[in-house]
Structure formats: C-alpha cells, structure tokens
C-alpha cells in the first residue's frame, strides 16, 4: 500500500469517528454525554473486528466489537443496508444495561464493508432505581430491559413498534428517545463519511488500507512488547460492598510478543450488581492498555491479537447469568482497570526506556453518585454528580499525579461547574476543593482527589434522593508504584443536621469543611438515601497512587505542597520526613528526621519472619 494514500485514509478514518462523536453530542444534548464524555464511537471491519477506536470510555472499544460480532451471528443473512441494531445485554457484549450499543452495517454497492458502533449511558433503562445503578438488584431481571440484539432501524426507517416498546419501559422516555436518536444520527454520519471515503479512493484501496492499518498496529504493538522485558507481574484489588469483600487478582505474563491476563483466584460472583461479565473484563483491561502501551499506535484489532485472557467462570470478573451487573462500571470493571494499570506499569518500570510511561493508578474508585427527584423547576431530574469525572491522577516516574486530574479509561472527561449543577438540581454546594493528603505519598506524589458537600436548596419536595454505590471506602483502590503509597480511600457521610436541629442545636448553614458541620456525620457507602431539610451529603473521592520512596522527595516540593494546601505539615513530617518552619524547609531537622525514619525502617523484621 502506498504510504501517502495510507496516511490520508488513516487520518480520514479518525475524522469519520470524530465527526460522528460531534453528531452524537449535538443530538443528545445531555450533560453526561456532553460534560462527562461518557460515550464512544468506533469503526469496525466487515467481520466486526475493531478498525479504529475513538477516544471515549475505552472499556467500550472491544465490547462494541463483540456487539458487532453478536449481531453478525444472530442476524446472519438478514443484515440489510440502512439497518441499525441495538444490544445492551451484558451477557452478550454490553457492560451494563444502561450502556446501550447501536451498531450499524456500512454497505457500499450492496456489499457489507464495515460497521460503525456507538454507545451512550442512557438517561434511564427501566431498572428498579432511576438512572440504572441499582444497589438492591439481585439479578439481571431487575436491572431494566436487556436485549441481546434487536433491529431498531430497518433499511433506514425507524421501527416504530420497537422504539415504542423500548420507550414504554423507561422513565423520562423523551430523554431516552433523544439518546437513541443521537446514536442513530452518529451511525448515519459514520456511514455517510465512510462511503464518501470509499467513493473517493475506491473500495479496494480502502479495504487494503484498513487491513494494513490493523496489521500495522499488530506489528508495532508486538515490537513494543519485544522491547519490554519478559516476566510475570501480580496485582490485587479489594472492594467492599455492604460488609462483603471482593477481590480481583491479576497475574499478567509477558513472553516475547504476547501478553496474558489471568484473573484466576478472583472472588466468586457477588449477589450485588458489582460483578462484570467476560467481555466487560476483556474491555476492562484494554481501557488502560490502549493509552499506556499504545499511545502512538492506532487502537484496533491488531492490538488485540497478541493478547489472551483467563477469567474464571462464575467469578466477579466473569459472572454467570442471571447475576446482577448494573454497577459493573463502577465495580469489578474498575478493579480490572486498576489491576491492569498496575501490572502494565510494573512492566514498563522494569524497562529503562519505557519507565517514563509507567504510572500509579488514577482515581481507582471511580465513585458514582446518582441523583433523582424533582428539581427547583418541578422537572424530573436524573443524573450523575460529575465530580467523579474530576478524578485524580496517579504519580508518574518523573512527575506528580495531577490533582483532580481525571482518569485513564476516559481520557477526556470533565466535571460540571458548581453553577451548572446548582441550576439543574435543587442543591447547594457548601464547598468543593482538592483534598489535602489524599494523593498517595511518594518520591512523586499521587494527585489529590476532590471533596465536596451538598445540601438541598429550593427543592419543591423538601429534598431529593441519591444513590451511593461506593466501594473504595475501606480499601485504597489507587495502588502506588515502586514504593509509592496507595491513594487515600473514598468517604461518604450523611450529616444529620435535621436531628441536630431537633435536638435544639444551632446548625451551621455555611460550613466549609466536614469538621465544621453541626450534625452527626454517619458513614455510608451503599444504597439510596434522602437529602432532605438541612441534612448534608459529604463526599471525598480517593487520591491517586504515589510513586517511589517519600523520603526521596525533594524537600522543596514538599514545602510547595504545604504552601498550596495540598499536603499537611503533619504528613510532611511523619511520611516525608520534612520539617518546615516559617515558610522554609528546616534542613537540619529534616536531615535528622529522615535519618530517624530510615533507622526505624531498618529495625523492622525480615519479611520472611
């Protein structure tokens, strides 16, 4: 293939996706799609294999390939030009029922030449809890409608009966209709642009360029793997749900130019919806793999070829139907992300030339809080608190993690302004800031997470409800790297100001920290809760993992962190061994403090004992 045409076609394929993403955002108009970038559009080859992945929630790149393949199997011989198929069955391809895939064949002169697929997290799916995240669900049947494959559009015409049936099963059907139309529009754009590309360059050259693009990715990725040392790296993620502790164990083996992800030893599936299915685990480790190992390689099927996965049937990472999975995206999938990030980072840091690409885990908990109720304009309001897209960066081997700096699996998320949330939900923020001492200490510190608190404000019903599906409150999920500490865990508190008021205490209406709040702060982590009267919800997200030995951090950096309010003096002294006074590092005291800490280390027992 001539390199010039190849370069042009490759660039144009990416533009096809970009254009479809813009269409998706435009038509959808919803906050989660537009602000959180909780979406994905990608192109697939005629056999359903990934041709070019877009930058969206990266778990979905491979899962949508499975969606294409499932549709190909199910509708073999009955796939027509202008058809669009819907699947959201987690046991077929989807991550959970709320993440709907629409996949559409692309035909040229009557021949099926490619597929486009996209996803958004729809407004509602008819699960037991508005918005879909259902802490009380005990099986897939209570998690809303779920289709292994259904034709939504036939030959370019919407199947009204199918659409009406779907919309009949959800809350706020008009919002879901808009979500679905946005995906149809995105697929239409992808198809039109792809056909235009084929018409300009010819079906054959485009097909050869696509094949070459996949082969090129494979070649480059295998070359990269060969440049990295062989070995076997382990990581372990715990997560706690209502007194239950689940474990995701991962052993990643690299031999030559092949990688195996082995989840043997992970916990049996839970009766809570934090499980994930086989294809979700598969997508779960690709989410960090694409940006960490293939940052300069086209994300497609070529990257998949050198990889194998072992995930025990009936486990939390490969649950058996009808196990519930509505919280998979913030549950087991997130743990798979984190475990894979750690193993990949360990492999990278074992290489002189690739160590700069290694990172401790970013925003391991991916906490999610969903709100639902009537807003101040008496409209039904359902939605996620976008602070989770704020995230927290893991430390790099050459730089600190970025405070409230996002996450790896969704490289371009962002959180909404306080003013946006206060305008759409009947709430008032008491404060929102980066939380000191949450980033894992290290030679390079993990990025701090975020903390904020809300009370209801002008709610026509005296308040609204929220869903907390928190894990990562008992355990730190953002693992450290190379001696760096894991980031601090999450915390959720229900502050009982109403009870304090009833007990005759004065409630502080403007506290700017958890400590300044009047009512008793009850720790919560799981379930549906009210935000009524003067009660407050306090949320503290986890920090990113640290890198390297905190005693090796330059004292000047620790001082700068103290001045910026990112690290407390207490932690500076006890963890970093840095003593400051009057805005300067006390060099002598620091030297002595670090010496003492080192001596204490040498007095610890041998690990074998």
């Amino acid at each position: 293939m001539d390199p010039i045409t190849f370069s042009i076609i490759r660039h144009r394929l990416f533009r096809v996706i970009d254009e479809a993403v813009i269409t998706l955002k435009h038509v959808s108009g919803s906050a989660i799609t537009n602000e959180g970038h909780d979406l994905m559009v990608s192109l697939y080859r005629a056999d359903g294999s990934l041709l070019m992945g877009g930058v969206g929630f990266l778990h979905h790149l491979t899962s949508a390939a499975e969606a294409c393949k499932a549709v190909i199997r199910r509708f073999e011989g009955d796939i027509g030009e202008g058809d669009v198929f819907l699947t959201n069955c987690p046991y077929t391809a989807a991550l959970h029922t709320s993440d709907i895939y629409l996949v559409a064949p692309i035909h040229h002169e009557g021949r099926l030449v490619a597929w486009s697929a996209c996803f958004v997290h729809v407004y509602d799916i008819g699960a037991m809890v508005p918005g879909g995240f259902s802490p009380e669900s005990r099986d897939i049947f209570t998690e809303g409608f779920s289709s292994p494959g259904i034709r939504l559009v036939e030959g370019g015409t919407m199947r009204r009966d199918v659409m009406d049936t779907l919309l009949n099963m959800v809350r706020a059907p008009e919002m879901v209709a808009l979500d679905l139309s946005s995906m149809i529009a995105a697929n239409n754009v992808a198809r039109e642009r792809m056909v235009a590309l084929i018409e300009k360059y010819g079906a054959d050259p485009v097909d050869r360029a696509c094949a070459a693009l996949v082969d090129q990715s494979e070649t480059l990725f295998r070359k990269r793997l060969r440049e990295l040392p062989d070995g076997r790296w382990e990581s372990r993620q715990y997560f706690d749900i209502e007194g239950e502790t689940c474990k995701v164990l991962l052993a990643m083996t690299k031999e030559g130019d092949a990688l195996t992800f082995d989840f043997t030893g992970s916990s049996p599936q839970s009766h809570h919806g934090i499980n994930c299915t086989y294809w979700a685990s598969w997508g779960g480790f690709f989410a960090p793999l694409f940006p960490l190992l293939c940052y300069d390689i086209t994300w497609n099927d070529g990257v998949l070829r050198p990889i194998r996965m072992i995930a025990p049937e009936g486990s939390v990472v490969n649950c058996t139907r009808p196990a519930p999975v509505s919280l998979a995206t913030v549950g087991a999938i997130q743990s798979v992300n984190n475990a894979a990030c750690t193993c990949i980072a360990k492999m990278l840091s074992a290489s002189e030339s690739y160590a700069k690409e290694a990172t401790a885990v970013w925003h391991g908990s991916h906490f999610a809080i969903f709100m639902f109720g009537l807003n101040q304009r008496r409209q039904e309001a359902i939605g996620i608190l976008t602070e989770t897209f704020g995230g927290a960066g893991g430390a790099r081997t050459w730089a600190d993690g970025i405070d409230v700096g996002g996450e790896i699996p969704n490289p371009i998320g962002r959180m909404a302004n306080v003013e946006t949330t206060e305008a759409t939900f009947p709430v008032r923020y008491l404060f929102r800031r980066a939380t000191p001492d949450t980033g894992g200490p290290g030679r390079w510190r993990g990025g701090n997470g975020i903390e904020f608190a809300l009370v209801q404000h002008d709610s026509p019903e005296g308040g609204i409800n929220y869903v907390v599906s928190g894990k990562g409150t008992e355990f730190s999920m953002s693992e450290g790297l190379g001696g760096g500490y894991a980031g601090a865990p999450c915390a959720y508190r229900w502050v009982h100001n109403n009870a304090a008021r009833e007990a005759g205490r004065n409630v502080n209406p403007y506290p700017t920290s958890l400590d300044a709040m009047t009512g008793e702060a009850e720790t919560i982590s799981w379930g549906v809760f009210p935000l009524k009267g003067e009660d407050a919800l306090y949320v503290r997200s986890d920090g990113g993992g640290g890198f390297g030995d905190p005693l090796e951090r330059e004292p000047a950096r620790v001082l700068a962190d103290i001045e910026a309010g990112m690290v407390s003096e207490g932690v500076a002294a006890s963890v970093y061994g840095v003593v400051t006074a009057a805005g300067a590092v006390d060099e002598t005291a620091t030297r002595e403090r670090r010496k003492a800490l080192r001596e204490a280390r040498l007095a610890t027992p041998m690990a074998a004992e």
Partner: protein
C-alpha cells in the same frame, strides 16, 4: 548502583542477584521472588498517609524495605494473611 533494571527500585547485579538499586544489597537470585529477603513494615493503612486514610482497621499497608539502606522498595495494600504479590522479571 549499576545493573539491569527490573523495577523502579531493583536491579540484577553482576552476580545475577536481585539487588537494591540504591545500595546494591542482594535480595536473592535473579528470576525468583525477593520480598522474603526484604524487611517488612506491616501496619494499618489507617492514617498511614494522613487523616484521609480512613481505611478499615483490617486493611494493611505493607512496606518492603531494603535491609541494606532502608530504601522503600515496594508497597502493597493487603488483608492480613494474604500472600505477598510476586513479580518475576526475566532479564
């Protein structure tokens, strides 16, 4: 310390031993596990990095330390009794 890097803190030295990159202290033969030969400071994660470390009491921070120089070689978040994570690098 020269040698072939196998992690952010460890190298393989000229005797084919895993060694501390900071001081050269040998922790066992290349290609094998090394953590047993390190010092271990195992303490509650609670408070380990400051007040926000409000982890449950049973959650432990394991710090694997170089017996030669006290360098922090690796950390783990663990429950008591869970085995050490084993990383093997073949160079």
């Amino acid at each position: 310390m020269s040698g072939t890097r196998i992690s952010a803190t460890l190298v393989i030295d000229e005797n084919r031993a895993i060694a501390c990159a900071a001081c050269g202290y040998a922790l066992g033969p290349a290609g094998g596990p090394w953590k047993d030969a390190a010092r271990l400071d195992e303490r509650p994660m609670q408070g380990a990095g400051g007040a926000p470390y409000s982890n449950a009491e049973r959650v432990l921070l394991r710090r694997f330390l170089c017996p030669g120089c006290g360098a922090l070689l690796d950390t783990e978040c663990a429950l008591a009794g869970d085995p050490f994570l084993t990383d093997i690098v073949k160079v």
